[in-house]
């Protein structure tokens, strides 16, 4: 499904934080997990992912660390920080309120 750009604006960071809360991931794995967990609804472009990861890292919401991979190459694995967890909780609450309000107005059930 294609969403309007304005609708998705600002939500991608929350999605990344939510995926990383479950388990630390490297870039490619994160895209895959996001795709699987959303049942294919969120297809995050790789080109969008990395600038976002660096932005979140800059804000101290996630931390990246190089770890040895299965092959010769090492991988940069990202983890959510305590600050990131706090931010995620706050954003989740905001999101629930938003969904609830939208559901009431649109007259559709909110499954949250």
């Amino acid at each position: 499904m294609r969403f309007q750009r304005e609708l998705l604006k600002g939500t991608t960071e929350t999605l990344i934080l939510a995926v990383l809360q479950n388990a630390p991931s490297h870039g490619y794995e994160l895209v895959e997990r996001l795709r699987q967990r959303s049942e294919g609804i969120f297809e995050l472009g790789e080109g969008t992912l990395y600038p976002l990861l660096y932005k979140l890292e800059g804000k101290g919401l996630i931390s990246g660390k190089w770890e040895a991979g299965s092959g010769e190459r090492r991988k940069r694995v990202y983890r959510i920080t305590p600050r990131g967890k706090k931010q995620l909780t706050q954003r989740s609450e905001e999101w629930k309120s938003l969904v609830h309000g939208m559901a009431l107005i649109l007259g559709v059930p909110a499954h949250v």
């Binding site: 490619y28 472009g45 790789e46 080109g47 969008t48 600038p51 932005k55 800059g58 190459r73």
Partner: protein, 252 residues
Amino acid sequence: MCNNARIENRIADVLVGSGLPADRRSEIVEELREHFEQSIARKRETGLSDEQAVETVLAEFGSPAIIRKQLRRQQRVADRRRAVTEVRRQIWLPFAFSGFFSILSGVLTPETDSLPMRCLGGVTMFIGLFLLMVGFMYAGQIFSYQVQRQRPRKEYHFLKSCLRWIAVVAFGFVALVPMLLLELVACALLLGKIPFANHFPQLLWYNFGVAWLESASRNFGLCTLGILGFGLTLALYERSRCVDEPVTPVAG
């Protein structure tokens, strides 16, 4: 062009002119290379040929220019944050510097003005010097980060940085506006009246023109030149140590 070279060129496209430090760029190269390899492998598993897999992955990756712009913006934010931290760490320096000169110039120097007026002059000079020096320190930090990342032959960038410095000096004089307002408020509180209330344009001229040209500029100008000279010397020294080389696209 072989597929590997296409991937390397795309990564280089993202990073060329991104303004990122060399260590950060090499990390991103490694990370993106790893990512591309995994993405291509996955596309192959779905039955695509090598060529098709690379084509699809590159198309999905998006525009290098947009990504480069985002990375550059993030680097600027990081630079600013780092510069603010550095200036806060050394805030005692402009404080002591401004305090010393303002006491010398505004209070201890024998003047024809009454003591309250001399105190006000001292306060004005303190705020002015303090703001200007903080501005210089901040700009100097940003400047040195940029110079560190430049290629030695990029004279254009160096010139641009110098112009930015000059703009910062000019901006320092804009600090006179809040200083003037503060002076008026202080006068109103201490003396019970606003001096030259009916002659505001003359007051503006006095503060922006005569006063700065005649008395304050003696120390102020010397300090400004001193800081500018010191900062530029540091910047030139940093520049002479530049070892940063750009990521070179792989030939096809």
